[in-house]
């Protein structure tokens, strides 16, 4: 009798535990996070979230996410905490620099479609004033010119294009598009002279017009140097 009684009690106990597991088990959810802006941000977010709520931060993926937004993976008991509550708490956390976090919803609109005013301006002023002239490089001693161009490159171009011409210069991190990898011009012929000269002279987007900064001969020296840059991976 005693055994039957304990069996019933145990069955009842496991039934309750089982139903709890079905309806409110431990789950993992992902949150795209906005506001991770300073080096201290990830640590501050993790510790504050674990302190405020009974959740466990499994991972904070800062790189190689599908959308580009950092992804926070959190494990929590869905019976005790809801996704909405976690989102609210994330929105209230402040990092040491005073930035607030936010859960990102919806796609990122980096550049909206062009408006009527912009269409009208393109119709009147043209899209871009890009007419690449056919030009001939006037410098005959290419080796000496490339040597001079190398020094000019370090002083004027490497900040954005990188010392090796890989497009990852220190300043380039703040640009919307990475500068071009310059080894694409390696050993190109005379047909690219006009284009390169025009581009260096006039600039485009984040690149300033070096026609205002460098003399014509300096620009040809740069072109001669750029044509010697090789892909270090090859």
């Amino acid at each position: 009798m005693k055994k039957i009684f304990s069996f019933i009690i145990l069955s009842f106990f496991f039934l309750i535990m089982g139903s709890h597991a079905v309806f409110a088990g431990t789950i993992e959810e992902e949150f795209k996070i906005e506001g991770l802006i300073s080096p201290a941000s990830p640590k501050a977010l993790k510790s504050a979230l674990e302190k405020e709520l009974e959740v466990k931060v499994i991972d904070l993926n800062l790189k190689n996410t599908k959308t580009g937004w950092p992804v926070l993976t959190v494990q929590f008991d869905s019976g005790a905490v809801s996704r909405e509550k976690i989102e609210n708490v994330i929105g209230e956390i402040e990092d040491p620099a005073g930035h607030k976090y936010k859960v990102h919803h919806g796609p990122l609109l980096a550049n909206a479609p062009i408006l009527d005013e912009e269409e009208e301006a393109i119709a009147i002023l043209g899209d871009t004033a890009e007419v690449f002239p056919n030009m001939k490089n006037p410098i005959t001693d290419k080796a000496a010119s490339a040597s001079r161009g190398g020094k000019l490159f370090v002083n004027n171009c490497a900040k954005c294009h990188g010392l090796s011409g890989n497009g990852y210069g220190t300043v380039a991190h703040s640009f919307t598009t990475w500068p071009r990898q310059l080894w694409v011009w390696n050993n190109t012929g005379e047909e690219t002279d006009g284009y390169l000269f025009w581009f260096i002279t006039n600039g485009r987007s984040d690149m300033p017009p070096f026609g205002l900064i460098l003399s014509e001969n300096n620009r040809w020296d740069l072109i001669n140097y750029i044509k010697t840059i090789k892909n270090p991976g090859e």
């Binding site: 609109l109 550049n111 909206a112 301006a121 703040s174």
Partner: protein, 117 residues
């Protein structure tokens, strides 16, 4: 970084003579951000998306009904920029500027030009 966006304001000298060049100053409180932040991934700092990218994309200048200039910009533009440019006073007409940002939002301001004696 400006947290709020204020409508653009135009300042023009009161002393403008016909056919002379005059200076126009336009102030627009608008945040500018690449959207990137540098965060510590415990091994080494990495660049990551931080907040939605925000910058002024275009500024158009109209003198009277005519579009006279276009300023194209990128996220390299400063927060709350001040633009200064010159126009030739060929007519008594409003100078209008129209701003468009990367989200497709539009702002405009205008000021009438009157010749002084």
């Amino acid at each position: 970084m400006a947290k709020t966006i204020r409508d653009p304001r135009i300042r023009i000298s009161r002393r403008i003579k016909k056919d002379k060049v005059f200076k126009v100053k336009v102030k627009f409180d608008h945040p500018s951000f690449t959207g990137l932040g540098i965060v510590d991934a415990e091994t080494k700092p990495v660049f990551s998306r931080a907040i939605p990218v925000s910058f002024i994309r275009n500024m158009f200048v109209y003198f009277g009904d005519q579009l006279v200039s276009r300023f194209r910009m990128s996220s390299a533009i400063a927060d709350d920029p001040l633009f200064t440019f010159k126009l030739k006073a060929i007519q008594e007409a409003p100078v209008k500027v129209v701003f468009v940002d990367n989200q497709g939002k539009k702002w405009e301001a205008s000021k009438k030009i009157k010749f002084s004696n």
